[in-house]
């Protein structure tokens, strides 16, 4: 599919701003990566803090498709083709998903949200946001930071508000 150089440069700019390395993909072509990232960023948006984009979910997906999720490559290929078809039906004058307006992207998402491809993309987006950073996503532990997961190897009680309160009452 065609992605204008402006989109790629915008993506690169976004990554530079976020302190991330310039995009380099192992499985996906850069144009497809831009499109998938646009959807991932709708699944986990950047509202109220880092989202799929800032956590580098697209790098997780790219690597997953050449490792543990290699079997899903065909699902991505056909799923993305159908998604682009749906985009053309809904917005005949558009050229890419990533260049749609926010409202248009949401309309497109609602049109596919019950598909098995969307389910897979949702799963991979969440894994790339909250999974172990060694898989290429959850960059800078941005996903874990959002939910308040510390990711340490050991903890000492009290762990939470209520057990701390109970300990206090015992004193």
């Amino acid at each position: 599919m065609a992605v204008g150089p402006d989109v790629l440069s915008a993506l690169q700019h976004a990554h530079t701003v976020a302190g991330l390395p310039v995009p380099h993909f192992e499985t996906l072509d850069a144009a497809t990566a831009v499109e998938i990232e646009a959807i991932a960023a709708r699944i986990i948006p950047s509202t109220g803090g880092a989202g799929a984009r800032e956590a580098g979910v697209i790098y997780f997906i790219d690597r997953a498709l050449s490792t543990f999720a290699a079997d899903d490559r065909e699902t991505y290929r056909t799923g993305m083709a159908q998604l682009q078809q749906k985009r053309k039906e809904l917005f005949p004058n558009s050229t890419t998903i990533s260049s749609l307006t926010g409202d248009q992207q949401m309309t497109l998402m609602r049109a596919i949200e019950t598909s098995s491809f969307f389910e897979l993309l949702r799963t991979h987006t969440v894994l790339g946001f909250l999974g172990n950073p060694s898989y290429g996503g959850n960059r800078g532990e941005r996903g874990w930071t959002q939910i308040g997961f510390e990711g340490q190897m050991a903890y000492q009680p009290p762990f939470g508000y209520y057990d701390a309160q109970a300990e206090e009452e015992k004193k």
């Binding site: 762990f159 939470g160 109970a166």
Partner: protein, 552 residues
């Protein structure tokens, strides 16, 4: 690792198939009693350093469990349906078996569990029977298991528990916020919460370090060796004797008989898929409630055309599994439930079956949080949460640290139509038949889960939950089952059971089966303590029989 290596042609005293919760115990008991033992294990031999806190590897992939890509499983609800590939069951597939990756709940059965037919009578559509043994027969072995493995808990704290000859060897684990909220709510409701007995060290024990509260118990191997798996407790003792050889990545396909109808050894595939025959004077199968009957059904012979030790026709029948509903609650302040072991408090108030409810069944309820970050966002949220977008994100971000779960562990009735059989069409990567599971709930199983779910919600509300929700307990939604019980049931009568009260098969005098397959009833799940008590008892019996010359 094993130092000793036995010849395959020289018959060892005992061959143990499966190095899990039961097999590890049996191997240790036999080797320390002076016998030469070979243990064959399907999975690899891993150690603390091989494990990690990797949610994707261990909960979204079969990191420590059976992999359906190489060992497919098929499932059907009833034998009128055609089975299709589905991961209906899951088991630990490594040295240590399920005791490596389990949540480590360690409940003894109650006295009533062994005689529910006498207490509750017939249940239509089920084969509810008494066990041929009583709690008192197992009590010394429960105690032995608790002390040899290292169990933390508080004796006497559960007013419904059966008599114990000794307290737990270790004090309970530190309580979490879920435990505190549960304690307060259940006491308010007149119930009796108590600290969870767990196979996790609260203090240093037998050279092993205590738990560091990292929170990665369920589905994970313990990186500091504090979870009391057979891998870190009894298997090293077995190997230290110099008489026990553990052979990992060995997949058994058949138990062979000699001309006299006694077990002569087993044929297995090595890692490189070369076939080996290991001779033995006696055989213990400890492969779990699904793999044990599968192996017997594959071990057909002229003498046993329907599968080894299957004169009763009951091998693979009466499969019971891990029933129970899940209710979740959101609270005002952070609980940080991802820290610490999964379960710290529970109740047994609803354990006993009560005819006043109008159905057979009961269960325990524990307070826990057994989600990891991605799993929670994908499957732990209230069902009315949007599946994507800013509201989806806001929900998992704000709920993760403020949610707890109440899980019920309930009865699963033995039904002859729930079976483990060999799939006639699907084969695994070794060319062996895939396991075919036929399973559906009994109506009383469902009634019990529904009845307890209302109690779970009531407790969450009494604890001050801002919002509550529950997970569906459709039989398919609840897969895979990890508690695999009942498929080679224990009894006195060879016509209605597969093994005798000491886990010895009625049909083959030097063949023992001990794991969840022996169970006559399901208890209230958490089968590991009972599996290991049965293993200690069976090994004790086998040692005495072997010394008398009664096995060869």
């Amino acid at each position: 690792m094993s130092g000793v290596a036995f010849s395959t042609t020289d018959a060892v005293d005992f061959l143990v198939l499966g190095a899990g919760a039961a097999g590890g115990v049996v191997a240790k008991e036999l080797a320390t009693a002076g016998f030469r033992v070979v243990v064959l294990e399907q999975g690899p031999y891993l150690h603390e350093g091989d494990y990690s806190h990797d949610e994707i590897k261990y909960t979204f992939q079969p990191g420590l469990t059976n992999d359906p890509k190489v060992q497919p499983i098929t499932y059907r609800k009833s034998d009128a349906d055609r089975a299709r590939p589905m991961k209906a069951i899951e088991y630990g597939r490594q040295v240590g078996g399920g005791s490596v990756h389990f949540t480590a709940n360690y409940w003894r059965f109650h006295e009533s569990d062994f005689r529910e037919h006498s207490l509750c009578g017939e249940v239509s559509g089920a084969d509810l029977r008494d066990w041929p043994i009583a709690y008192a027969d197992l009590e010394p072995y429960y105690t032995k298991a608790e002390y040899e493995l290292g169990i933390s808990g508080l004796a006497g704290a559960n007013p419904f528990e059966a008599p114990r000859s000794k307290p737990y060897p270790l004090p309970p684990m530190p309580v979490k916020s879920s435990g505190v909220l549960f304690d307060r709510a259940t006491k308010k409701l007149g119930l009796h919460p108590f600290p969870a007995p767990v196979a996790i060290l609260s203090e240093p024990y037998q050279g092993r370090a205590p738990c560091v509260n990292c929170g990665f118990c369920e589905s994970f191997g313990c990186e500091v060796g504090s979870k009391s798996s057979t891998l870190v407790s009894v298997i090293p003792l077995a190997e230290k004797t110099g008489r026990c050889e553990i052979r990992p990545e060995c997949y058994v396909r058949k138990i062979e008989l000699d001309d006299a109808g006694r077990a002569a050894g087993a044929i297995y595939f090595e890692r490189n898929r070369r076939e080996i025959f290991q001779r033995a004077k006696a055989v213990f199968v400890c492969a779990n409630g699904v793999e044990t009957p599968k192996l017997l059904l594959m071990s057909k012979s002229k003498r046993f055309p329907e599968g080894l030790a299957n004169s009763s026709g009951l091998v693979g029948k009466y499969l019971m599994w891990d029933n129970g509903g899940e209710a979740l609650g959101l609270f005002e302040h952070p609980l940080n439930e991802y820290k610490g072991i999964q379960v710290t408090r529970l109740i047994h108030d609803y354990y006993a079956s009560d005819p006043k409810r109008g159905f057979y069944g009961g269960g325990g309820i524990d307070a826990r949080f057994d989600f990891y970050p991605a799993g929670f966002a994908l499957s732990g949220l209230p069902p009315d949460t949007p599946r994507w977008g800013s509201e989806f994100k806001r929900t998992f971000v704000t709920y993760f640290n403020r949610t707890m779960m109440l899980m019920a562990h309930t009865t699963s009735l033995a039904q002859a139509k729930n079976t483990v059989s060999l799939d006639p069409d699907v084969k695994d990567a070794w060319g062996l038949p895939a396991v075919r599971i036929t399973f559906d709930y009994h109506p009383h199983d469902v009634a019990t889960m529904k009845w307890l779910l209302a109690k779970q919600i009531e407790i969450l509300e009494a604890a001050g939950a801002l919002k509550t929700w529950s997970q569906p307990f459709d039989v398919v939604d609840n897969m895979p089952s990890r508690h695999l019980m009942g498929t080679c049931r224990m009894g006195n009568d060879p016509r209605s059971s597969v093994v005798n009260p000491f886990s010895r098969t009625h049909d083959v005098p030097n063949l023992f089966l001990v794991d969840g397959s022996n169970f006559v009833t399901s208890g209230r799940q958490q089968p590991t303590a009972t599996i290991q008590a049965l293993a200690y008892r069976a090994a004790d019996y086998a040692v005495r029989a072997a010394r008398r010359g009664d096995l060869s």
